[in-house]
Symmetry: C2
Subunit: 353 residues, 2 copies
């Protein structure tokens, strides 16, 4: 029995392959060994210009697409970076992704995104899936992970960069801002501007550790001035302008004495702004406002809401840089820590006139 009796229908240009092409097909078509084809396609090793041209021509005319699965297995190099984030619809992670892509585009690495929906169990699953592809690095949001997740990451022996947050203990490298500090700075500024009756509006914080840390920093700094948060309002589900409106209405009905509203993100802060304006409340004279994230879309409103830029793009860029440089060997060691500065933007809603 011959081993060569498979039906092989090679197709020129027409592009209707029955059986996926392999290196062998290209090697036959160009009359050299598979190894030489491999060398040409990866620009590695010594190949004469003549054969190189021959091989490239054959590969192109066949429409050969290399099989990275096989390549990765053989070379045990996988040029993927796992990026694990809680959500895409968040307005913050697309920015982080942009930063990551900017850097990885100049490297052989490619990001692969996994979304956890703020669920630790889901994070564990996604992480397991991702690690089973043996990526060159992992970037993941936050410092809080299940024990199993931490164990997997530690034993995976790949560069790990935890992003967004620097308040806590990292597995390996970290890039982010201190949310506790962001909360403190905002609190100090609010008090400095003369506001005293302060309300807080945000997500139910059991899931969102960064919002919680901001809140902790916030109340801590207020406490130091002898001030307490007067009232709080929480929501769950996604952020929206409408939610910001409703929450603002509710908290003000309950606590009409409030003179400042601190929101856990810009979307609900903007909703709050719209509500206050329509209720004929003077912003920032009667009530001041602040959000968080430094979202670009705040620029569109009649008043620029005070906020704090979370340096999202930079976080993405730095995280990707660490992975890229560690994976090409230009950066040695582990455990790098990059703490970026949250930049306060006073806008128009954090000053009494």
């Amino acid at each position: 029995m011959s081993g060569d009796d498979k039906v092989i229908s090679i197709n020129k240009n027409t592009g209707t392959a029955k059986r996926p092409l392999t290196l062998k097909d290209v090697s036959i078509a160009s009359g050299v060994s598979e190894m030489t084809v491999s060398r040409v396609l990866r620009n590695r090793g010594d190949v004469s210009d003549a054969t190189r041209a021959k091989v490239l021509k054959a590969a192109k005319s066949l429409g050969y697409v290399p099989n990275k699965i096989a390549g990765a297995l053989a070379s045990s190099r996988v040029n993927l970076v796992a990026v694990i984030i809680p959500s895409l619809s968040n307005m913050v992670f697309p920015d982080v992704m942009t930063g990551i892509s900017e850097v990885l585009d100049d490297s052989p690495l490619q990001p692969v995104v996994g979304v956890t929906n703020y669920s630790p169990e889901r994070e564990e699953q996604v992480l397991f899936e991702m690690l089973s592809w043996r990526p060159s690095g992992v970037i993941l949001a936050g410092l809080e992970h299940s024990d199993a997740s931490v164990a997997m990451l530690k034993s995976a022996s790949v560069p790990v960069v935890e992003i967004m947050d620097t308040d806590g203990e990292a597995i390996d490298a970290v890039v982010g801002i201190s949310h506790r500090r962001a909360g403190r700075e905002m609190a100090r500024q609010i008090v400095k501007m003369g506001y005293r009756q302060i309300g807080f509006l945000g997500t139910k914080m059991s899931m969102d550790h960064r919002a919680r840390k901001r809140f902790e920093g916030f109340t801590e700094a207020l406490a130091r001035e002898g001030i307490e948060v007067v009232d709080q309002e929480f929501y769950d589900g996604g952020s929206s302008l409408a939610k910001g409106r409703e929450m603002s209405a509710r908290i003000l009905e309950r606590s009409p004495e409030l003179d400042f509203l601190y929101y856990s993100n810009d979307m609900i802060a903007a909703g709050g702004l719209l509500h206050l304006q329509e209720s004929g409340i003077d912003v920032p004279g009667q009530i001041g406002l602040a959000g968080f994230n430094g979202s670009e879309f705040l620029e569109g409103f009649s008043l620029q809401v005070a906020t704090m830029d979370a340096a999202r793009r930079d976080i993405g860029r730095e995280a990707a840089r660490i992975i890229a440089e560690r994976s090409d060997g230009s950066l040695q060691g582990t455990g790098q820590k990059i703490e970026l500065e949250p930049r306060l933007q006073m806008g128009d809603t954090l000053r009494r006139r």
Copy 2:
């Protein structure tokens, strides 16, 4: 020379592997063959409950993570679906992704996202990269692709679903809405409500084929009523409220006679709304407005801007369903076409009072 002289430091629980674990490690630890371990881990074939338990225990205690690269090569099954979209920061693709994930979560498949930034060359690159992982299916936005891209897709012999748009010729399956029709319906409704002096504001449309088709449908339907678009205003770069404001200001300065503004997306439409309201213009009495996408955040404004829902989630769901069912064999054949209904939402800005 023995082949077994590699330094192997097995680590229980502590998770500080020197050498990544393989099936063999688990097989040794549990005293069965690699094949049996493989069967247990994939829930396939006959394994007694006793050995199953033994193997699972060993795998867990070692912290074994299977190597999908090797598995995929051996079984020539790769449970990845390539999803290729123009942008993440768009507010529309996150919704599509949500739909895709909803469906794929109930299947063994996993989405992998690639972003093209509306560039055909980049699309070609990303596609090549993705196909070299031999995915089980490809979902990509739009019907317009480079010749090389089309050739790759055709010869890849995997299910391909082009999404968002149904106006044109598909490579294989399509799921989307007719943007031409969406434009037409909006035009008819605008005229029906009595508006006559109509302006258009949108992206430079050389890149964005769907915006172009909407515009074509729009002008076509207007023409049938003997009406022409009075003035147009274009922008490039990302959409933002601020841009919507500026553009609206400019077009109204140039053409103060306008009584309706049709925007190519909801973000700039909302910006326009804010501008008009602050300029003391009566909306929709003096000037009417409409956007496109059915974005949720429109609900937060004092007036609900008229828009047309693009069924983004459903598009994602249906596309994923086609891939999933074709890949598990429950759906036969190729070239499925699903045209969804764009739903007009009149809101408050498309009625003269």
